[in-house]
């Protein structure tokens, strides 16, 4: 056993933050937590609030589980983790309802479903149970930011093309939108929001696009079959 104390910001630990942002991104590489990425990315704001909730839950859960990792009996560890995560999620839910009620209404059931977000259980099982609180904290930050940036990219694209706005600010005037003109029988305007962007399946295509770009840049990621 090495007695040398490892610095919290050593190279190895920094890798915990950097890796999930790109090479082992929870969404685009490990394909975890896809359901929430599909469901709540219609607006940028929703995606951001969701990401922050996951950030909070994941950091707290990772640190807490890591702190008590030697006390948790192996047989019931999933239940213990679930209790911790559920407590945190309920807290988040109450906070959202208190301070950003509109957004929390739109996120509806998906805040509660953070409990079942595979990223959280995955990190607890794979990392927090076997590591000290410090690295667990960094791992949580890395993974939730990996989750966040993809959600923000998808949310940005869906909001811009689906509703013509960014963070609720409309930048496409209504006069551009195609409308029927009863005087001439023709149409006015030339633009139309893309309705497909408001449907969840399009997020799959957008995530696929992110995966595509990522693998084209980093050919190591391409699996051989």
């Amino acid at each position: 056993m090495s007695t040398k104390k490892e610095s919290l910001f050593s190279k190895k630990n920094m890798k915990l933050i950097k890796d999930p942002l790109n090479d082992s991104n929870p969404i685009s590489i490990q394909v975890l937590g896809i359901c929430s990425a599909l469901a709540i990315t219609i607006m940028l704001e929703n995606a951001f609030v969701m990401s922050m909730s996951v950030l909070f839950v994941l950091i707290m859960a990772n640190v807490v589980v890591s702190l008590i990792r030697n006390m948790i009996p192996d047989k019931i560890r999933i239940i213990v983790q679930l209790v911790i995560v559920a407590t945190l999620v309920i807290t988040v839910d109450q906070i959202l309802k208190a301070y950003v009620y509109e957004v929390s209404k739109q996120l509806s059931v998906f805040v509660g479903l953070i409990i079942t977000n595979c990223i959280i259980m995955g990190r607890l099982e794979a990392f927090a149970l076997g590591n000290k609180p410090g690295p667990a904290f960094l791992d949580a930050i890395g993974n939730s930011f990996g989750y966040t940036w993809i959600l923000l990219v998808v949310g940005f694209l869906r909001e811009v093309f689906g509703s013509g706005s960014i963070w609720g600010f409309k930048f496409i005037p209504d006069s551009w939108i195609i409308s029927f003109d009863p005087l001439t029988g023709g149409t006015d305007g030339f633009y139309e929001h893309n309705g497909l962007m408001l449907l969840s399946p399009i997020a799959l295509f957008l995530v696929a696009g992110v995966i595509w770009v990522q693998r084209a840049k980093n050919r190591k990621l391409i699996e051989e079959n």
Binding site: T184, G185, G186, N194, L196
Partner: protein
């Protein structure tokens, strides 16, 4: 021809390895082999040689679509002027001219954008240009309303070429029909442009004309009343079905009196449906609809060419019709709402059923490959098409969704057909060995 050949031969050294435009070789190769049968010979192994290569096959399909295109051009103009009641002022030539003005830009945009994306991918990957888009580029304009804004056509084309074709490995690897994917994209992304009664017929008045009395009549330059606006002209026949079903739901007849008994409203609904559908018009194709889908006659000419050259599969077409008729008869027997009472011929002639069955269900890449599989595949396309139309009138174009759905199922069908065949042969082998 000699002249063209000379140009191609002269240009070739520039594009070969070490030449000035080496990078652009795929582009050159694409055009050269489009014009002339390629000179390359196979270098290894034994191959069956046939003059009909992929490009020639594609050209056959495009030729088969020309009747639909020409008819569509005229019909676009005709629907436009007849909706305004101006067919007397604007004759055949005006109608063709108006139609051409609407339809040809769509064709051009679809080809330029689609081929552009394809060429881009080929040059980036450095592999020869595949000619798969030649057919899709013609199919896309034929299955959209003539009034679709051009940029929407472009966006849908890019989406379908990139996500259905290039991602899966280019021509011959697509899991879905690219043209139908483009239409599905349009349908879900821009529903206002692809459905409803404003989408199908252009009602923009010609220069100098104006509406009068709340758009009931059309006045000419000097204020004379020349045309009476056709109130229901805008809707396709499938959406007219839906409209009359909606009327039934409100249980009020045309006079505005509440129809009490459900039975009474049902009878009225059936009468209304049959009133609104003219079988002969639908057969000839003088009805609103997507550019190429309206005329069953034009489609049948195309089908004849496809079958004669062996490019299209008769099995898929026939089993598709059989599936549709089968489902319709079941619905007719049940007949619980007016929509279910629509007869088999009406269903076959309405909307894009025939067009989809002849030109898209038979797409050799995304259809089932085995002979038995083709029959099953076609049957379920017909069956699902009618089912979607009847159960969900909000999606009047059941054919699109039915074909896309069966495209996805085709590999599964093939798998079980092949497994079944293997099993059968194994059994036969067992029997044979037991007898000896």
């Amino acid at each position: 021809m000699k002249f063209l050949e000379k140009i191609v031969d002269k240009l070739e050294p520039n594009f070969e390895k070490g030449g000035k435009y080496e990078k652009w070789y795929p582009l050159f190769d694409g055009f050269a082999t489009f014009l002339f049968t390629p000179k390359h010979t196979t270098k290894k192994g034994v191959h069956i040689r046939d003059a009909v290569d992929l490009k020639r096959t594609m050209n056959t399909v495009i030729t088969a679509m020309i009747p639909c295109l020409l008819f569509g051009i005229w019909n676009t103009g005709y629907q436009h002027y007849s909706a305004l009641g101006l067919t007397e002022e604007f004759g055949f030539l005006d109608q063709v001219f108006f139609g051409a003005l609407k339809v040809l830009p769509v064709v051009i945009v679809s080809y330029v954008v689609g081929l552009g994306v394809e060429f881009g991918f080929c040059i980036a990957k450095g592999h020869p240009i595949e000619e798969g888009f030649l057919v899709s580029g013609m199919l896309i304009p034929l299955i959209v309303p003539a009034d679709t804004p051009l940029w929407m056509v472009a966006v849908a084309t890019i989406f379908s070429v990139v996500f259905v074709k290039e991602v899966f490995g280019g021509t011959g690897m697509n899991i879905l029909n690219p043209a139908l994917t483009a239409r599905a994209f349009l349908f879900f992304a821009y529903p206002k442009q692809l459905s409803g009664d404003k989408a199908w017929v252009n009602t923009e008045l010609p220069e100098g004309y104006s509406y009068a009395e709340n758009g009931k009549y059309v006045l000419n330059e000097i204020g004379q009343r020349v045309g009476e606006v056709d109130a229901i002209a805008g809707a396709t026949q499938l959406s007219r079905f839906k409209a009359s079903v909606d009327v039934m739901k409100n249980t009020k007849d045309e006079l505005g009196e509440a129809v009490g008994a459900a039975a009474q409203s049902f009878e009225a609904g059936v009468v209304k449906l049959s009133e609104k559908f003219d079988l002969w018009e639908a057969f000839v194709g003088i009805v609103p609809g997507s550019i190429g889908e309206t005329s069953v006659i034009a489609i049948l000419i195309g089908a004849g060419l496809l079958l004669h050259t062996g490019v299209g599969s008769l099995k898929i077409m026939l089993s598709g019709i059989f599936g549709a008729v089968f489902m319709t008869i079941i619905f007719n027997t049940a007949g619980v709402n007016p929509y279910m009472t629509v007869g088999p011929l009406e269903h076959l002639f309405a909307g894009g059923f025939m067009f989809g069955l002849v030109f898209m269900a038979t797409d050799p890449v995304s259809a089932a490959q085995t002979e038995v599989g083709k029959v099953i595949y076609g049957f379920f396309i017909g069956l699902f098409c009618i089912m979607i139309r009847v159960f969900n009138p909000a999606y009047p174009e059941g054919m699109m969704l039915a074909i896309l759905f069966m495209n996805v199922m085709a590999p599964l069908i093939d798998h079980y057909v092949i497994q079944g065949n293997i099993k059968q042969r194994l059994n036969r082998l067992k029997l044979n060995t037991a007898n000896h």
